[in-house]
């Protein structure tokens, strides 16, 4: 499949395709930083989401944001359930923790569905997931190290995803608060998974951490920020840039999250 040929073909019927996609440059660049094999496997999905965005997807409604969150929660809930069901994905000493995490994600799915329905909107259907990402992680449910790496990837992504949507929820304080409450739970999960993997619970600079596949780097890009609210924090605080970067988690755009999640959606 040749992405550029497809875009060229579209250009024949839509002369502005490049303009429409230019604002998606970030999506392209994060797309490019994924492993080649993963990128190839996921190209149809990522391209689809990119075009959906470029061609006037109306966003901003609260139900849209909740459906976006629901998609991520479906992914996490199924990942942890399948990990617990597999015999070799989770080391015995971590089963209790992952059981709790599964329970939380299942609860988030139910909570979000209820919230969406209460707004007279329709919850999106659960996608079909492929946690091997088209064969990039063939041992995801037989090798605890791979399973833990993907767990970290999903939890750190979840934290950034919710954070990126908070500003779209201000018109409904109840939903905003609930989203913040879920956001904090994802952060607790992330910290523990990272500690199980021998890392700090927090993200230093934009480092994905030892043992994380290069394909997960897009999850950490942009985390090295040390200027907050227009203030250069290291210079006023005397705290090192690395530790300041740890002290603030950064958001991800909806599109960046969909590009990451899209790798695991068939």
């Amino acid at each position: 499949m040749n992405i550029f040929k497809i875009i060229k073909d579209i250009e024949k019927v839509d002369g502005e395709v490049y303009d429409r996609l230019s604002s998606r440059r970030q999506a392209f660049s994060s797309f490019g930083s994924f492993g080649k094999k993963v990128a190839f496997a996921a190209a149809p999905i990522a391209l689809g989401t990119m075009f959906k965005k470029a061609y006037g997807q109306s966003s901003g409604s609260i139900a849209d944001v909740l459906n976006f969150a629901l998609t991520l929660e479906y992914l996490e809930a199924e990942f942890y359930q399948m990990g617990l069901d597999a015999s070799g994905a989770i080391a015995s000493e971590n089963r209790a923790f992952f059981t709790d995490v599964r329970d939380h994600e299942v609860a988030h799915v139910a909570f979000l569905k209820t919230a969406i329905q209460s707004m007279n909107a329709t919850p999106v259907a659960k996608p079909t997931f492929d946690f091997s990402a088209g064969g990039a992680f063939p041992d995801w449910n037989t090798n605890p190290a791979t399973y833990l790496a993907l767990s970290q990837a999903f939890e750190d992504t979840g934290v950034r995803a919710y954070k990126g949507q908070a500003g779209n929820l201000v018109s409904n304080s109840g939903v905003l608060t609930a989203a913040l409450q879920i956001h904090a739970v994802e952060a607790r999960h992330a910290a523990i998974v990272r500690r199980i993997r021998g890392l700090k619970g927090w993200i230093t600079n934009d480092e994905r951490g030892a043992g994380m596949p290069a394909a997960t780097q897009a999850i950490y890009d942009g985390e090295a920020q040390t200027t907050q609210a227009g203030v250069n924090v290291p210079s006023i605080s005397g705290v090192s840039a690395a530790q300041v970067s740890e002290a603030f988690d950064e958001p991800l755009t909806k599109q960046a999250v969909l590009d990451i999640a899209g790798l695991f959606i068939v």
Binding site: D100, H108, Y162, A166, L180, R188, I192, Q243
Partner: protein, 242 residues
């Protein structure tokens, strides 16, 4: 027993003499909160009869609107930063090197949060609060970790509860994002502390999470009531948005 008086309580005169916020900021960059700076501040400002900063036995008013909420966050970050500073200074004998490494990170993170709020608030910032850690035994690991757990879980609930109170649709969105950037780090801290308390048995604070999978969210009044044991300065939060 550890009661700390922080330098800004009597700094009003000196702050005025330092002039612009930038000069003030630069001053603190170099002075920090060292003992020498404290002495300097106290001695140079005590004869100033035009002191705008209330003495420590008078309630500090957090203010109203977004500024009030930012001051509320600043107060909590002052408390956390002072706590971890005291832990790093006094608890080496009580903690393992791995535990102390976590404490050093937490100290750095909370100092970064505190200094950011102070800079962002500028002249609207509340003065430094006087903390009261007399209930904490800094030579006892359980006491230190339990206090850390209290502060972190409370911090998470405080930010979760405060998000909706940031109502300014212009700058307020930036403040909401800023609060979001901080609260997830507080939640990471909280989980790590629970994990340390469980001796790496992967506790994360299960009791904080309800049947819907939601972490706690608390109103400022409830948070400040819970933090009152550790803050000697009286805080007036009556003007905060509700």
């Amino acid at each position: 027993m550890m009661k700390q008086t922080t330098p800004e309580e009597n700094e009003g005169g000196l702050m005025k003499s330092l002039g612009s916020p930038m000069q003030r900021r630069m001053f603190f960059r170099y002075a920090g909160a060292t003992a020498a700076a404290t002495t300097l501040l106290l001695t140079t400002s005590c004869d100033d009869d035009d002191d705008v900063t209330p003495p420590s036995n008078t309630a500090v008013d957090l203010g109203s609107g977004d500024v009030g909420i930012l001051n509320y966050a600043y107060a909590l970050e002052q408390l956390e930063a002072a706590f971890y500073t005291a832990v790093v200074a006094n608890s080496a004998s009580a903690l393992s090197s791995a535990e102390m490494a976590v404490m050093q990170d937490l100290k750095a993170h909370e100092v970064a949060h505190r200094e950011l709020f102070k800079a962002a608030l500028g002249t609207s910032a509340i003065p430094n609060l006087e903390v009261d850690f007399s209930s904490i035994d800094f030579k006892n690991k359980t006491s230190v970790l339990n206090a850390a757990k209290t502060f972190e879980d409370l911090g998470v609930a405080a930010y979760n509860g405060a998000g909706k109170l940031l109502t300014d649709t212009g700058a307020g969105l930036d403040y909401l994002l800023l609060a979001g950037k901080i609260v997830s780090v507080e939640a990471r801290h909280a989980a790590a502390i629970h994990d340390l308390i469980s001796n790496n048995a992967r506790a994360y604070g299960a009791a904080q999470i309800d049947a819907n999978g939601l972490d706690k969210a608390m109103a400022p009044a409830d948070v400040l009531a819970a933090a009152k044991t550790y803050i000697a300065t009286e805080i007036n939060f009556s003007n905060l948005p509700k």
